[in-house]
């Protein structure tokens, strides 16, 4: 079974293999443009309409396109896709988890064998 997105109905429907050449969400990962089915006409990005009225510079810059480029590059797994900070966070979390589980097991083991009181 093959699928394609219908611009008319706005839904995914059955299609032939040829028509399904570009179904929704399957653009090549090297492409840097925003996926047309999400960001293309008639969808308006929420930021464009009133982001900077009368030519005023926006206070917060839209970094979504850059992030899309970074995240769609082939390579690292998703949770370390940005490199440095992601790796530090991931390794830190894994380290803490090991400490936590070992400490918890140790605590349970201690609790399992209560010492007799002196008196």
């Amino acid at each position: 079974m093959f699928y394609k997105f219908s611009q008319m109905t706005g839904r995914i429907g059955a299609a032939s293999q040829q028509a399904a050449f570009r179904p929704e969400g399957v653009l090549p990962l090297t492409q840097t443009e925003a996926p047309p089915l999400i960001f293309g006409s008639p969808v308006k990005p929420a930021g464009e309409v009133a982001a900077a009225p009368q030519g005023k510079p926006a206070i917060v810059r839209n970094k979504v396109p850059e992030m899309q480029q970074i995240m769609q590059k082939p390579g690292n797994l998703l949770f370390v896709k940005r490199g440095g900070l992601d790796t530090v966070l991931y390794r830190g979390t894994m380290g803490l988890v090991v400490v936590g589980v070992v400490y918890a097991c140790f605590g349970l083991f201690q609790a399992m064998m209560p010492k007799k009181s002196e008196d």
Binding site: F2, Y3, F5, R11, I12, Q17, A20, F21, R22, P23, E24, G25, V26, L27, P28, L29, T30, P35, L37, I38, F39, V43, K44, P45, A46, G47, E48, V49, A50, A51, V60, N62, K63, V64, M67, Q68, I70, M71, Q72, P74, L77, L78, F79, K81, L89, Y90, G92, T93, M94, L96, V97, V99, G100, V101, Y103, A104, G107, L108, A111
Partner: protein, 262 residues
């Protein structure tokens, strides 16, 4: 994962978060045992920290998949919608249990309670004072979250931000009023079945308000950094559904426990 895929679904990449989350929950559980049994909070704090960092990183990855990789196709979104609906239904039954306990005790009060509800010696809170204000606050927040949704659908960025800010502020105001009400309450959770049912039901509702407010704060942050489009903002929709659910639970709590129950 180069090239094309010939189906609309999202096949997730390997992720450490389920295992890390499970281990964090284990650490937290044993931490609670250690706290209750030995009065030691070291493992409890570690477990809480682990749960928080797992949540942050797991949901950060979901945002990456949705907003930056475009994996949330309309088929995937349909699954997410059903998942959120099922989650909210499970929450409905969670609260149903507390209402059951409340009506079990209040509809046929036992001799020990003085065959009356509220039980003899209990002075309930005035339903037409702070609880009525809380009802107005929460209903207003339901209006502002709908305003935010419409602004978002019409691509009005600043209006959506303003409406979400109002919603978050109303949510925090509700929590502050509830905290004050708890502090002032003339009965405690240990005051028989009245105190138990009152504080467990309203307390879990308060916890849900805090979770919903956090969810809405995350949505506000994501709206500020341009994550939502006029037609693609399921994270916000899920938060709005959850908020309306919390709102409806409050109406039942107000009518049954605060008003009828007093």
């Amino acid at each position: 994962m180069a090239g094309y895929q010939v189906h609309p679904w999202h096949l997730v990449e390997p992720s450490p978060w389920p295992l890390v989350g499970g281990s964090a929950a284990f650490t937290l559980t044993v931490g609670l045992v250690m706290w209750f049994h030995y009065n030691s909070t070291v493992l409890l704090v570690l477990g809480l920290m682990l749960v928080v960092v797992t949540m942050v990183q797991w949901w950060r990855d979901v945002i990456r998949e949705a907003t930056f990789q475009g994996c949330h196709t309309s088929y995937v979104l349909a699954g997410l919608r059903r998942g959120m609906v099922l989650f909210i239904i499970s929450e409905v039954f969670f609260f149903l249990a507390f209402f059951w306990a409340f009506f079990h005790s209040s509809l046929a009060p036992t001799v020990e309670l003085g065959v009356t509800w509220p039980p003899v010696g209990i002075h309930p809170l005035n339903a037409f004072a702070v609880p009525l204000l809380n009802t107005a606050v929460l209903l207003s927040s339901g209006v502002t979250v709908t305003w935010a949704h419409h602004a978002l659908m019409e691509g009005k960025r600043m209006e959506a931000i303003q409406a979400l800010m109002f919603t978050v502020m109303l949510g925090l105001y509700f929590t502050a009023l509830q905290a004050w009400e708890y502090y002032e309450a003339p009965f405690t959770i240990a005051d028989g079945v009245y105190g138990s049912t009152f504080f467990v039901a309203t307390g879990f509702h308060g916890l849900h308000v805090i979770i919903g407010s956090t969810f809405l704060i995350v949505c506000l942050g994501r709206q500020v950094v341009y994550h939502y489009t006029s037609s693609h903002h399921f994270g916000f929709e899920a938060a709005a559904w959850y908020w309306h659910f919390v709102d409806v639970v409050w109406l039942f709590l107000y009518v049954c426990i605060y008003w009828w129950g007093s």
